[in-house]
Subunit: 218 residues, 2 copies
């Protein structure tokens, strides 16, 4: 891969502080007030679980491609546009498999990194990279690929792995005003370490409260 | 008890819309972003669980009485003052037992109602009423006692019972910027019904985001 090379290029030729700093690893998830990010019974045919689309009602009414879901309101657009300005995507294996890795192109052809224990046999769609040596390596590769831009992370299990490995920088949570009652939780890792957060931005979208937290590891 | 009588009095003598309307049943809980309202290992000697005080850091540094915890900031005071202006308190049996029912006086001597399967033997502290015929009856009695004022509800199990019985009107959640990782959850009722909420107020306190949701039962 040429990603580390690009970093070296920046270091050698562009010595301002700003251009040398890497972007952040940003988790983006839409979560009900009671902590669910999918309804019960999620599967490849039902990727959000039963009525799980409720959690994504803050987005616009898009089609196949993620960029087609741009919200109509300003707050929603602000967050959405930031996410689609990221320079790489990390997705969990489950999420990725469910949506066939967006055909290899989540947005703008940026590389998609997938932490996994074993890469699948057969051809890899588009710009998808399976990373088998752990989440920290996956995060480092994605950040190198993104350069100064942020990296978007999606997936509950992968988010928890990134927290454990202390490589997650930001949580961008779309807090949806509903009690889901059942389904798949974002934070479901009993006995994990306590992690302090800084709430750095609150935006009110008609369909969700858009909360940006920076992670403060002890 | 004289509470229903007071309601009749209002109905007979004070026929404006406003004076006839009862207050709301308002759940107030401080919750981590990952949904916990107490640390692990809560007990009478450790009522908030391990390091559970973290969740109440948005409050002031009070003493024995709830009113002594008035926060220093305006947003925190707004919510705190509303809660201490309630005309009755409902508390779960666990919470109540842990704190000995605040000696029978949570604030201003308002009555304290405790839904329970069996009232304890022996004398009842102060103005505490054990209600054994269900959460709906408990809510009705507390509302009647409070008149036009709201009723404050505290306790995770009791909150879930009130939601199931469709008697909870408002959730006032102090969303604390921390991932607790473990402990007791506010919403832990797998398979419960989905409940839509309206976010009606967002206040930013230095220690927590103060969110007020009205419940919309289907």
């Amino acid at each position: 891969m040429s990603f580390p090379a690009r970093l070296v290029y920046l270091d050698d030729n562009n010595r301002t502080e700003r251009s040398r700093s890497l972007g952040k690893l940003v988790l983006s998830m839409s979560m009900s007030l009671d902590g669910f990010i999918a309804g019960p019974g999620d599967s490849p045919d039902n990727p959000f679980g039963d009525d799980g689309q409720r959690l994504h009602a803050w987005l616009g009414d898009g089609g196949e491609d993620p960029p087609s879901y741009r919200p109509a309101d300003e707050a929603g657009r602000t967050v959405f546009d930031e996410l689609l300005a990221t320079g790489a995507v990390i997705t969990g294996r489950r999420t990725g498999d469910y949506v066939n890795y967006w055909g290899g192109d989540h947005h703008d052809g940026v590389p998609i990194f997938v932490p996994t224990h074993q890469a699948p046999a057969g051809p890899t769609p588009g710009n998808v990279h399976f990373v088998t040596d752990g989440i920290a390596s996956c995060a480092a590769q994605a950040k190198a690929a993104a350069g100064e831009r942020d990296v978007m992370l999606h997936g509950a299990y992968t988010a928890r792995e990134a927290l454990r490995a202390r490589v997650l920088d930001v949580l961008e949570i779309q807090l949806v005003p509903v009690l889901f009652g059942d389904g798949r939780r974002l934070f479901d890792d009993p006995g994990s370490d306590r992690v302090e957060l800084d709430l750095v931005r609150t935006l009110e979208s008609p369909g969700a409260l858009l909360l940006r937290y920076e992670v403060r590891y002890a």
